[in-house]
Amino acid sequence: MELNAHVPSGPIESKWQRHQFDMKLVNPANKRKYNVIVVGSGLAGGAAAASLGEMGYRVDCFCFQDSPRRAHSIAAQGGINAAKNYQNDGDSVHRLFYDTVKGGDFRAREANVYRLAELSANIIDQCVAQGVPFAREYGGTLDNRSFGGAQVSRTFYARGQTGQQLLLGAYQALSKQIAAGTVQMHARTEMLDLIVIDGAARGIVTRDLVTGETKSWLADAVLLCTGGYSNVFYLSTNAIGCNATAIWRAYRRGAGFANPCYTQIHPTCIPQSGDYQSKLTLMSESLRNDGRIWVPKQAGETRTADKVPEGERDYYLERLYPSFGNLCPRDIASRRAKEQCDAGRGVGPGGGGVYLDFAEAIGRLGRRTVEQRYGNLFEMYERITGEDPYTVPMRIYPAPHYTMGGLWVDYNLMSTIPGLHVLGEANFSDHGANRLGASALMQGLADGYFVAPATLGHYLASTKLAKVDLDHPEVKRTEEEVANRTRRLLDNPGKRSAMSFHRELGALLWEKCGMARNREGLTEALRLIPQLREEFWNDVTVPGTGESLNQSLERAGRVGDFFELAELLCRDALEREESCGGHFREEYQTEDGEAQRRDDLFAHAAVWEYAGEDKAPIRNTEQLDFEYVKPAQRSYK
């Protein structure tokens, strides 16, 4: 597998500008002649489809929900970063670039990150013009808040619903193009495979989720904007429908999969309450600004929080990280919480939680101020748990939240399959081994509004594609493979639901390849996952037919792919013999338990290549060079 990142030469500050000039253009009258498939209508896909349609391309856009407005980007709460320096606090493109490379623990490609920081300001302009109701100061200018991992205030927000408002902005722009006829929207349609002809991505095979019809679509290029794969863990903060099918099928057709083991576990989620649990709910990280995290010093403590005297509490983050305290980065806060619970000091049902206590903040600031700052979050917590955080400390526990890994892309966001571009959380992104808060929305929109619309034209203008039609043997073959797989699921004489297998897989993965990983556990997982997968294919039952809306079938197909991805995830985690960002290998830690990177051996992206059914995948690498930000050990003591 050839991995040429196609990073333009020259100083980092002018790479993108130069590249924009060097890229070939499609003249306006010719754009109409090109057909582009965009899979996904979240921030990345919605922004890309709207922009490409407006430029004059013929776009087909797909999503599995009933409307493009429901993509999971809608759930993002906290905000979006941009290097506007409106607060005059010393922010700049360079600082955002620096923070992102450092936050990613020196495992991202510098040139991409710089471009992201550079484009961040345009994103805010674009969104404001669309009518995104960002929070304002009294003078009418835009307001900012600070977010973890940064010393400047550069996060733009719309109450606790920033993702919703940004997505609705993109959705409305997309709606305009749908009305204009430049974009054909196909909601309730799931991509089940990629069509590759003469080595290039030329289309997709879909299932109509209402009628069950399997259908092929051809195009000159395909953009995958299908989001992250945290749901491989079953319980995560993602929506129930989030899946890896699109990127997994593309991987099996030849797209390199980079760093699958880079997953982010968010520290402040509401703990699980029972076996029936279907998802986990995130509580904004901003809570850590005033809440104090603690557990009882005594393992197996049975008293309620109010009965545990001050002296018998361990505010472990404040103890371990005197200068950052409760505000240390996500990966550290998560790992330390697990450590406490594993040692039997966890609180709440099953000991699976730690306290996040606002008593001190209420004493210091008054209930009114706390209410103003966190009122809506407290309400959400009470709605779910039935407990009042003003009087009883919240209980929190980490949960899978974001995946930095994804399909490998070059500087042009093109995967190792020519014509297949990957945007948003689905690609291996600019976040390295750990993403900073409020940076995913920024990346999705940068990819969708600005990067892909520019680089796609270059691909189309510099590539000669043969004409293909739906009778092409490769189209027929792909369609047939999809149909066979669907039939196999429907006809299986098994007894167990796909959901039950998914739950079991998730628990296994969380245990062996969650917040902390080691050789023994990963080796064990690599033995158990294929066994469970085989059981799945032997014993899964899918009621209903293929010719109608069938949610059991949808779930089963996604779970089948999660099984394969889970194995790759563990393999990648096993071979990355270092700790970095969200990937913590217990064997590689400093004396005081911090992540130990091994730059001499692992300063690269691991890019996995599919080698065929029952063959071990091949590990390729893209070396990462740091010219502008010198790698250093992160310290938050």
């Binding site: 407006e54 009518g131 719309a158 209402v210 009621p543 059991s552």
Partner: protein
Amino acid sequence: MKLTLHVWRQSGPTAPGRFETYVAPDVNEHMSFLEMLDVVNERLTAEGKEPFAFEHDCREGICGSCGMVINGRPHGKTGLTATCQLHMRHFSDGEELWIEPYRAKAFPVIRDLIVDRSAFDRIIQAGGYISARTGSAPEANAILVPKPAADWAMDAAQCIGCGACVAACPNASAMLFLSAKVSHLGLLPQGQPERYERVQRMLEQHDAEGFGNCTNHGACEAVCPKGISLDFIAKLNRDMLASALRAPVAQE
């Protein structure tokens, strides 16, 4: 606790529907309503029966996918809550629940509890946007928005497009949904150039989809999970009037 569920089953838009009765024998108070339904469906699957279909995705009250009528009320009885945020501690042992899809001409049933709400998308397509070509936006702080206007616009912009307002309305009107979008965009300076044309085009589409007229019943506001206020309908009416007066001018 133990509950009895009467769930609407319907295999397709034109097929006849009926209630089927299931028992949920071991409901835990910490479950969400949808998790309770999951458990019933898992049991049906294990028995080799086809589970009932219901729409859901985020399960945290923001995507607007979920929505069903529970004992006659869209999203159930708690108020300011989407179905997915409803928890079982609000129910009691032995309760009987009637669960059915939204009933409205413009929302045909697709299967069981799932309806087709694409009419909402078409209303937005008719004009629920501000035209802003990608890349042509002015510097963000060049447009000043007074804080009260921004806050008010945000109150309206919170609509999740769930359709409960339509299901609650005796006329199956979508006026609350429509007014939320018109107000969000119309309250901002960026939304002014297209303001009156937008109202007209969205209203035309609303009527063409088969939604009814608003007769100020207020049932919509009472079930809206986001608390979208009836005041926005009043605001919409003012814009509608203004746009009617302006229309001839625009055509000149």
